[in-house]
């Protein structure tokens, strides 16, 4: 699968290039079903990346887990979804040492949440790499009710918590690992622009 090309936007909108191997440094890797292929590509660029790597696979089929395990990481932890994966990640981060590299691959929602947790655990942004794979969907926070809506694919969309119709902004919060959604018809209630698929 080719890498995602991102539309030019404001500087704070994160974009993701291909993962670059950092040798046999201690590593944490987190990927979803589509992202697992990026981890395989990473290992084929330099097999040593797996020498000291712990891999967390989120919602990936068993066959993907087997393929990653065959690349020889220290451990592979499958988790059904991000909610189940984050406590596991917290445990891995709590014992990680300086010099640990974090490789993320998959959808933006997963990348954003895991990067936010790693930053909160003290990891420096310079130790985190992410590669986007799979469908374009965003994790959005409603600025009005503060609720998160996952896997948003259209603009505008309906907040899963308060029901407002929200405009998808490119404004991204690293702390929250989410984009900002703002009421699209606050000035003129009911005047809602045509729904479009969001761009990368």
């Amino acid at each position: 699968m080719p890498q995602t090309e991102f539309t030019p936007s404001i500087d704070s909108r994160p974009t993701y290039a291909a993962l670059v191997p950092q040798g046999s440094a201690p590593a944490l890797m987190v990927a979803d079903a589509a992202g697992a292929a990026a981890l395989a590509d990473l290992a084929s660029a330099d097999a040593a990346v797996m020498d000291r790597a712990h891999v967390l696979l989120v919602g990936a089929p068993a066959a993907a887990a087997d393929r990653i395990a065959a690349l020889g990481p220290v451990s592979v932890h499958p988790a059904p979804d991000a909610e189940a994966a984050l406590p596991l990640l917290a445990q891995l981060l709590s014992t990680a040492r300086m010099g640990t590299q974090l490789y993320l691959a998959g959808g933006e929602g997963l990348i954003g949440q895991v990067a936010a947790q790693a930053l909160a655990a003290g990891m420096a942004a310079g130790a985190i790499q992410a590669e986007h794979r799979g469908p374009v969907a965003r994790r959005m926070q409603c600025v009005h009710c503060k609720g998160f809506t996952e896997e948003v694919e259209t603009d505008p969309f309906t907040c899963a918590h308060c029901g407002l119709t929200l405009f998808v902004r490119d404004h991204f919060s690293r702390r929250l690992g989410a984009f900002q959604g703002v009421c699209v018809d606050a000035e003129a209630p009911g005047e809602i622009p045509e729904t479009r698929e969001i761009r990368p």
Partner: protein, 315 residues
């Protein structure tokens, strides 16, 4: 910049080479508080030479009752530290700049590892007080040649987190061992000779530390060199720079308007455009990029010198 006159309230000998100076407002007014790692620039009217040296503040950042610095006498230096040691007495008035900080703690860090070589201990003395007040974990490694020269010892808190390495006694500092295995969120800060700073940067890079977690401050004095001339573009006036004088000092003595702060090639304040250069700029700063150095169109007068036929500055 206004440089208020402060009174030398106390002078104390800390070691054969190091004295502590305490400055207070002559009227007893409170001074602006600062942040750990900040420095001040002290002006000294030494005969007809106006000397300006920057020194890290070693007192409590939250204490506005006075500023304290520790000055190592450099007999082969350019004269500022010798002047402070020999010519300045308690009760004298000196112009002292407000504090500025080029070596601030990164407060996003979970843990702070401080590595000092010799007189490089000074910025950490104020940082430690800030870290203790904030309840932030730290460890300090202080490398000295001999116990007699370890001026900072008297100023350091009694703490199990202070590690002294005395090379004369064979307890050399192992930077790799200090950095290896530090928990996620650790930042390292180095201050001391260039060799120590380079060794910390090398070991951190070898262990895969991100550059943003590695901080350093080298308060290098301007290196001496051959005398040279500089031309001021606006007036066409020529200014001579002596072998033991920095370009910045020569420009100031000639009355050129030029801003400065750290006077050690780190802060970028004195950056000046070069309007003509026939020869080679000897860049000694930490501010300009490799490309900017090669272009020879910018110069940091506080540290850098020139060798060649003609140097003209946009002044």
């Amino acid at each position: 910049m206004t440089r208020p006159l402060l009174k030398v309230a106390a002078i104390e000998t800390l070691s054969p080479l190091v004295k502590r100076f305490r400055f207070e407002d002559p009227e007893g007014a409170p001074l602006p508080v600062f942040s750990g790692g900040a420095h001040v620039t002290v002006e000294m009217a030494d005969g007809d030479v106006l000397r300006r040296n920057s020194y890290s503040l070693i007192s409590d950042p939250n204490d506005g009752s006075g500023y304290e610095i520790a000055v190592r006498r450099e007999d082969r230096g350019r004269g500022g530290s010798r002047y402070l040691h020999e010519a300045v007495a308690e009760g004298d008035l000196l112009a002292v700049s407000p504090p500025a900080n080029l070596f601030a703690l990164d407060l996003r860090a979970r843990r702070h590892v401080l590595i000092a070589g010799g007189i490089g201990i000074t910025p950490f003395l104020s940082q430690l007080r800030q870290l203790d007040r904030a309840g932030q974990p730290w460890e300090l490694h202080y490398a000295v040649r001999s116990r007699a020269e370890a001026a900072g010892l008297a100023l350091l808190p009694e703490s199990a987190h202070v590690h002294l390495h005395v090379s004369e006694e064979g307890s050399r500092m192992d930077i790799g061992a200090i950095l290896d295995g530090q928990p996620l969120g650790t930042h390292v800060y180095a201050c001391g000779p260039e060799g120590l700073i380079a060794a910390v940067a090398d070991q951190a890079a070898r262990l895969g530390w991100p550059a943003a977690a590695v901080h350093s401050e080298a308060f290098a004095a301007p290196p001496p060199g051959e005398a040279f001339e500089v031309v001021l573009a606006a007036s066409g006036r020529s200014v001579a720079v002596g072998p033991r004088q920095s370009l910045l000092e020569a420009l100031e003595a000639a009355g050129a308007e030029i801003d400065s702060s750290c006077r050690g090639g780190a802060c970028g304040r004195c950056e000046t455009a070069v309007t003509a250069c026939e020869g080679r700029i000897l860049h000694h700063d930490h501010w300009l990029s490799e490309a900017e150095r090669a272009a020879q169109t910018r110069i940091m007068p506080c540290m850098s010198r020139f060798k060649g036929a003609r140097l003209e500055l946009d002044l």
